[in-house]
Every structure is written in structure tokens, then in C-alpha cells.
Symmetry: C2
Subunit: 357 residues, 2 copies
């Protein structure tokens, strides 16, 4: 009703062209359902879930939601060997653990999972309407099987080359994720972070592909949504804005760190998992900076750094936690997720209406 | 006529809310006049000009232009000592000069000048309508003298703190310069680059100050201008887009490097002058990366690196040149500057019209 481009809304079966980012670990079934019921697309980040956890979370979200729910997976290839990287990481993590007041690095399971045959079957059984991927796309067979039962496929590009690759491999829409975005960059055709700002990336991706483009990175309010639409995007994906809502699972220490952060207080780091992710700069991010070029292959490092995050959350001490957030973190609006969606839609209409003479 | 917000157009006495960035060394009087005559604001970068060169360039631009011309200066404080940095830089530049095929580092004058009493007198005599600054603002006395004769004062902010500071010190409008921008960051309250994307910075600056905000960084076409207006900016400043025009002074080797560059081929470097600037990555940028934290104070390094730029331009070899450009460099449109302004205005109207239902 407000925006001329209905392609994304029609593709996803939603009213507002807004996707709540999947934010593995923070996006709860309650959040996804609240967003869905408000007319936007709610998402569940499933990359750290077991099959059983996925089934339960998706069932819960679907039971609560009237609209579609997006489920997100990581499409990287699991590494077969670590090249000694884990042992080296244990060595340089020891003093960091000591700084954090922990005596030793505890044994910890690797929780980030690659999308593979183990999850494909249960996913097909669950018949999701929308499946989004980070770090590329899974096998052609998996894409075909999902599309055969009507699933819409989304994935993330951080360059025009990645956008073209995703379109060629069957993505129904491409998320153009700029430098400002919080959490992991979806970058997969290189292990170096793409530094391209959302304002530059979006129109270039729009020109490079035929499918609808979803702008992500640095969009915090309706002005940002209107800007994304002006750049040619058919919609937006927003993470950090929803991290502030009541329904998101965010440890109090992380929320307090977010409250104190300005736009310049986040940085891109490989220090949590081995792949570039944007987080609020804390002592951990600083301590890992010298080791950026000698990390075990993604996602192995996560098993060594997650205990620090959990210990920090328990102790209420954010210095060694994973404070993933985007540059728009300073635009903090607390409240319910449905209220946020309504506010964003109204702001977008106002921003669009305010530009033209 | 197209956009609702007329504040910047009224302040500057222009028709289109577009400022051609001053681009010291590349923005010619012909370029500034062509932009001015097309209804936007043409600018002259005067930071590397002697008083005589400034007088001549401004007189030439004004003779050719029907509208106002903006003159730009650098407001940094000249360093009194180099802390031994120049000698250390000579040492690590020797092998880089050798790589470039030059036998020795020639004696070279420092061409970047701080705005001071030497230029204030001639500037007041020239009675410019608009004066913009980079790296803060000059003394309160200088600002008062310029404003007393009716000059409009602009300066650049890369954070909300800088925007508030500039407004408090008398800036009539603030240029919010994001991470994507080519050339020197205007950052002056820190010597570390601000990494805040234009999409994030602009609405934050709009909320932080009362004066009109000019968006800069990554804006390449009318979609970007419409996006900036949606974010709350009253206008835009564009550099790289005008670097492509016939009237810009760009060595053929630099133009060829720009033609080959994509959005991901630029990086922020201190390697040219000691302050962060965005340029196309070439061998020189890579060779300087290890020395970023041990450079002489701005702008002393420029006298040691400029000979490499000039030699490269002469030889048609871009590897050691200063290829300053923004992330939007891949959006290359050649032609006349007046034609570009008309195209941008038409595209902006189309982008605004295309968003609303």
C-alpha cells in the first residue's frame, strides 16, 4: 500500500517488505511469530540447532504465527582438518581465558552446523515456506528438493559476484548485505571481509541480478527502509533493530553493552568463529586482533570461544562475550516486536512522503 | 521542484541539492563552473594551491560560472615536529621507490597547506559565497570574518560528535561523510578512521544537529541521491562520479585503473599522507600497510609519496600512484559535467517517483 515495488511481498506472502534477520541464538520462536503476525517475515536462525531443536522451534513458531516463518541455515562446507589451527588457537586463547578469570578452556561441542543430509530430510518434512541460507547455498539436489515442494530460497551476497552466483544457483531473492551489518558476513567467495557499504552494494546488486533484492546492513528505522527502496531494493532485512525487542533472547550483560555502544563502537572481527562478523568491540575482540590471519577453518574456533561468551553472560561481564551487533546499534528502541514492525511501516511511509515535493 | 527539502538549495543558492566534491588536484575551474552552470554547486579544492594559484583558479571559475563556487581548504594544524617520522618513512620508502624503478627519493615540497593567516586575507578579498573545510574548522576569528561578509561555511563530519562540534563552531551545514567515500576522510577528533557507513551516519547526524546535512560517500547516481534524501539529508556531495567527467583532471593511468576497479577494490589507507583516505588498492597501498602505525604527522608524508604519483602518471604506470576514489568507482559514466548533473536530477526524480505506490 505504501511502496510501489510489491515483488518481495508477493514472493514471501507478507504485507510489509521487512525481514527480521535470523540471528542464530537470539531469534526465538516468539520473536519470529510476533513479526510474522505483524505482517513482516519472522525468521529462525537454525545453524546452531540439533535436528530435535529445529523441529521443536519451528513447530512452536508455526503454532504461534499466522503468516510464513523463514528458517535459516549455514551453507558452508565443514572442514575436514584444522591444519593445526585448533592447537595454536588453544595456545593463544590460554592467556585470554586467564584474563577473563577462567582457569582452563573447557571441552565444548562445536555447535555451528553445516547444512547437510542430516537436516535436509527433517527440513523437507517440516515443509517450510521460506528457507534462507548464509555462506552460499547448499547442493543443487537440496535446492531442487526444497523448490519442488514450493519453498522460496533466499541467500546472502556481499558482492555483485556473489549475487550473480546465488541467482544462477536458484535463489529466488538475494539479500545484499553491506559492511554495516551485524553478525556474520555472508561472504563465501573469499575469506576476506567485503568492505562495501550498503548504499553502494544495493544498487550494484539490483543492476546485476533479475530477482528481487533485499537490503541488509545499517537499516535502523523507516528512513533506512525508504532509502533501501530508493536504491532499488524490494525490501530489507533488519537484525539489530529486532535484537532490541522484548522477544529477542539477549543476555542482560549484552543488552547493557548495546545500550552503551555508538555507531563507531563495532568492528568486523574473525575472532569468534574464523569468519568475519561485526560485533561491539570489547576486550576479546581486541585480544583476538593479532591472530586474525592464523585461525582454524570456520567454524572450529567457535567451540573454543563460546565458553567465554557463556561465562560472561552468566557473570554479567561483557568483556569476553560475543556482542554481535550492527552499526545501527545506537538506534535502540525497546518494546514488542509487533509494535516495532508497525512503527517501521509508519516511519517508512512518512519518509517516502517527506521526500517528494 | 522534485524534492521537498529546499533548505540546502536555499542556503547555497542552487537549483539541485548536489555538491561536486572539491577533490584537490582533480577539480578544475572548468569542472566547478560547468557544475555551477548546470544548477548544482561546483567546488575547487584549494588545499594544495599557493595563494597565487588560488587567486587564479577562483578567478577563472568565477568568470566561467553563473552560479556560486565553493572553495575548500584543509583546517588541520601544521605539525611543528615530525618525531623522527620523516626519517623512518624515508627508510621504508627506499625499497618501495626501488620497486617503482626510481633510484632515489627526490627532494619535494610539501604541497598540502593548512588554512592559516596567509590564505585568510586573500580569501576574504576574493569574497567567496561558500567556503568548505576538511579536518574541522579554522579559528573562530577566521569563521567570524568569513561569515561577517556573508560566506556560507560548510565542513565535514564522520561521526555525530564531529557533527555537533562543527555546528557549535558555526558551520551552516554539515557534510556527513561515510566509510564509502573516496579521498581523505574529514575525521579530525581522532586519527583512526571512522568506519561508519553513509546509511548509518546520515540519519544519526540528522538527529544530532539542527543545520542541513549533506550526505557524502558511495552516492553514484539518482538512486543514491533519493536514498540520501530519504535518510533525512538535505542534499549530497559526490566526488567519484565527477572524477569520471571530461572536465576533471585525471591522469590517463589513473582513469584506466578506475575503469578496471570494482566496489571491493578500494581500501582506506594512511599511506599517502598519514591520514585515512580511500583509494583503489595498488602495490603502493599494499606496501604501506605495515607502516600505518608509524607515519609522520599529517601531511608531512605527502612530500615523500607525491613524487611516486607524479612519476607513475608520467610513465602511465598506476602501481605507485595515488588512485583516490570511492567505493562507487565502478559506476563509471563519462561525459560532460553539466550532462551528469542533468542526468542525476532526472534519475533522482525517477527514483523518488518509483518508490511510492
Amino acid at each position: 500500500m505504501i511502496w510501489a515495488d510489491r515483488r518481495l511481498c508477493d514472493l514471501l506472502g507478507i504485507e510489509h517488505p521487512i525481514i527480521q534477520a535470523p540471528m542464530s541464538g537470539s531469534a526465538t520462536p516468539t520473536l519470529a511469530a510476533a513479526v510474522s503476525n505483524a505482517g513482516a517475515l519472522g525468521s529462525l536462525g537454525c545453524a546452531e540447532m540439533s535436528v530435535e531443536e529445529f523441529r521443536a522451534a519451528f513447530a512452536e513458531a508455526r503454532a504461534l504465527a499466522n503468516g510464513p516463518i523463514n528458517v535459516n541455515f549455514f551453507a558452508h562446507i565443514s572442514p575436514r582438518a584444522d591444519g593445526g589451527g585448533l592447537a595454536r588457537a588453544r595456545d593463544f586463547l590460554k592467556p585470554i581465558y586467564a584474563e577473563a578469570g577462567l582457569l582452563e578452556i573447557p571441552p565444548w561441542p562445536q555447535t555451528i552446523r553445516a547444512f547437510d543430509a542430516t537436516i535436509l530430510g527433517p527440513l523437507l518434512e517440516a515443509k517450510p515456506q521460506i528457507v534462507s541460507f548464509h555462506f552460499g547455498l547448499p547442493s543443487p539436489q537440496a535446492i531442487r528438493a526444497l523448490k519442488a515442494q514450493g519453498a522460496v530460497i533466499l541467500s546472502t551476497a556481499t558482492t555483485t559476484a556473489e549475487a550473480r552466483d546465488l541467482e544462477a544457483r536458484g535463489a529466488d531473492a538475494v539479500i545484499a548485505q553491506g559492511w554495516e551489518a551485524g553478525g556474520h558476513q555472508g561472504r563465501y567467495l573469499s575469506d576476506q571481509p567485503a568492505q562495501i557499504g550498503t548504499l553502494v552494494l544495493v544498487p550494484q546488486v539490483v543492476d546485476a541480478v533479475q530477482v528481487p533484492v533485499i537490503a541488509a546492513g545499517g537499516i535502523a528505522d523507516g528512513r533506512g527502509i525508504a532509502a533501501a527502496l530508493a536504491l532499488g531494493a524490494s525490501g530489507v532485512q533488519m537484525g539489530t533493530a529486532f535484537l532490541w525487542t522484548d522477544e529477542a533472547k539477549v543476555a542482560p550483560a549484552r543488552r547493557e553493552a548495546m545500550r552503551r555502544a555508538g555507531a563507531g563502537d563495532t568492528a568486523m572481527t574473525k575472532g569468534f568463529t574464523g569468519r568475519p562478523a561485526r560485533a561491539i568491540v570489547n576486550r576479546f575482540v581486541e585480544a583476538m586482533a593479532p591472530h586474525e590471519d592464523d585461525l582454524p577453518p570456520f567454524p572450529l574456533l567457535d567451540g573454543l570461544t563460546l565458553p567465554l561468551d557463556i561465562a560472561g553472560a552468566t557473570a554479567g561481564a561483557p568483556d569476553y562475550m560475543g556482542l554481535l551487533a550492527g552499526q545501527s546499534v545506537a538506534r535502540n528502541r525497546q518494546g514488542g516486536a509487533a509494535e516495532l514492525v508497525e512503527t517501521l511501516a509508519a516511519e517508512t511511509a512518512a519518509a517516502i512522503g517527506g521526500v517528494a515535493a
